[in-house]
């Protein structure tokens, strides 16, 4: 493997942060492999996204405006990877990123590593470091073969850095294919800018929240004060208080934010495996001896419904001083 191709996920031209992390990491890996760093951006708004990508250290930015959902993105990645000869394809470990990376890997019969948190490059070969079993073990897997490989990088682990490097924009020729999947419409249920996977601060609520309301009020306010996202434990999702997309843990998302604030969450293993690699963990819980005390950096035992609004106020004040 010599070149690196970053798949860029975007919405009408607005690029997801994990994709900017992929673009930046593509450069680092391409330099280590002695190859070129490419980006692939597909779908309506791709041209606009490509302009943003000019601020990232890429050699070429390949654009396809074809509107064929996942199919169009996979075809575009395939065309660019094959054009490069040999390539490691980087995707964000997000719903769309996984769909594109997995389909590409199956199509070209190459290895795929999921939820990658580090890379090792040696003698032109790429190994990926991945926490598995909910972070209980750290595995290293080498992508074999000289042709292609896929790595789905965990959001929030790799840095996204703007540079002066202006990549050349290249149009991908139209495939003329029809999409196998029809997108009928899209419904927004929450106005969240960032999902829990990408937010650097996540404020999660659990069973202790007692109902849906805190998720759109006190927890949301605290998350907003940090510019973060609202997460939830399985208990809260199962109770129907918040959609599954917000769930952190075994049957939800595995995340590594810089700061994780768990409110009214006891810290069962199913939840722990989804957030134990957060950089800093703060818990607010009525029970100071809850399991989460064993792995939180700070647990404040008290009334979350009183502490959280007070904390939000203090955080806003502190941020205002710096602003």
């Amino acid at each position: 493997m010599q070149n690196v191709v970053a798949f860029i996920e975007h919405k009408h031209g607005a690029i997801r942060r994990s994709s900017l992390e992929a673009a930046t990491q593509a450069r680092t890996l391409a330099d280590q492999l002695g190859g070129k760093a490419h980006a692939v951006v597909a779908g309506p708004g791709a041209q606009q996204a490509a302009e943003t990508l000019k601020k990232y250290p890429l050699d070429q930015i390949h654009v396809s405006e074809e509107d064929r959902f996942i199919d169009g993105a996979v075809d575009a990645v395939e065309a660019v990877a094959k054009g490069a000869g040999s390539a490691l394809v980087l995707v964000g470990n997000t719903m769309i990123g996984r769909d594109v990376g997995s389909r590409f890997a199956a199509r070209v019969d190459c290895g795929i590593n999921a939820d990658v948190t580090d890379f090792k490059v040696e003698g032109g070969e790429v190994s990926c470091v991945m926490p598995k079993l909910g972070g209980l073990v750290i595995t290293t897997c080498k992508l074999t073969g000289s042709g292609f490989g896929v790595a789905a990088i965990r959001p929030n682990v790799f840095a996204a850095k703007e540079t002066s490097g202006a990549g050349e924009i290249v149009q991908i020729p139209s495939s003329g294919k029809a999409s196998t999947v029809t997108v009928e419409d899209e419904v927004e249920e929450a106005a969240a800018e960032l999902g829990v996977e990408e937010a650097s601060v996540v404020v999660s609520g659990g069973r202790g929240m007692g109902g849906p309301e805190p998720f759109t009020t006190i927890l949301k306010d605290l998350a907003d004060a940090f510019g973060g996202a609202v997460g939830a434990s399985r208990a809260a999702v199962d109770a129907g208080w918040i959609p599954h997309g917000h769930q952190v843990g075994q049957t939800g998302k595995t995340i590594s934010p810089q700061l994780y604030i768990a409110v009214g969450i006891s810290g069962a293993i199913q939840h722990k495996v989804g957030m134990r690699t957060s950089e800093t963990i703060i818990a607010i819980n009525k029970d100071g001896s809850a399991p989460i005390a064993e792995f939180a950096d700070l647990l404040v035992a008290g009334d979350a419904f009183a502490i959280v609004p007070e904390l939000t106020k203090l955080v806003r004040d502190a941020k205002a001083v710096h602003a």
Binding site: F69, A105, E186, Q258, V300, E310
Partner: protein
């Protein structure tokens, strides 16, 4: 796809309502990576000529979430992933696909593959009748050759090869502060956030 020891899991699926069960069980597929798993499962599934393939989203150990997409590709059929709701109507399957901020309504003609999230339903409990019936049902055990698997999968064929396994350092137990006074609790958190340069 499981070693022979997985037979009871397959029987549970029968007890829950499956009419028929097929098991791919062969040392040659043991230790497969994602690619090998997709190739072996696709060959097994193809032999059943299904109209609709339904999978979960991710396993609870590897949590990769990559298999549904790989299977759809290997089967050469449309793949609708992250479905929280699904219906089949007039030769098409329609799903609500979860997104970060809501959902999308997407559809595809059959045959197709759908991966469901945990919001799709509550798994039913096997009924007594189901359990009794499952005991009588034959579970077809197939080997790699039975499904026409010709490429090397398993440990030897892995395209992502495990080279190291390590235990991460344990997270140290942190500080616990009792805060009967909410304002004091909030101040303690802010102090901590300042020490860690979050504020």
């Amino acid at each position: 796809m499981t070693p022979a020891s997985g037979k009871e899991i397959v029987r549970k699926a029968l007890a829950m309502g499956a009419d028929d069960a097929v098991m791919l069980s062969d040392d040659a597929v043991g230790g497969s990576d994602l690619w090998g798993t997709a190739v072996a499962l696709a060959a097994t599934i193809k032999a059943q000529s299904p109209d609709l393939v339904i999978t979960g989203t991710q396993s609870t150990d590897a949590i990769s979430g990559d298999l549904p997409g790989m299977l759809a590709e290997k089967l050469g059929i449309p793949g609708l992933t992250y479905a929280r709701k699904l219906e089949v109507d007039g030769g098409r399957v329609r799903v609500e696909r979860e997104t970060e901020t809501g959902y999308m309504r997407v559809s595809a003609p059959l045959p197709a593959l759908v991966s469901v999230t945990k919001s799709a339903n509550e798994p039913r409990y096997p009924s007594l009748k189901g359990i009794m019936g499952a005991k009588k049902k034959e579970i077809k055990q197939l080997a790699a050759a039975d499904v026409g698997l010709t490429v090397a999968v398993g440990t030897d064929g892995a395209k992502a090869q495990l080279t190291d396994l390590a235990t991460p350092p344990a997270r140290a137990k942190g500080q616990v502060i009792q805060a009967p006074d909410a304002a004091e609790g909030a101040r303690a958190i802010v102090q901590f956030l300042k020490e860690r340069k979050f504020l």
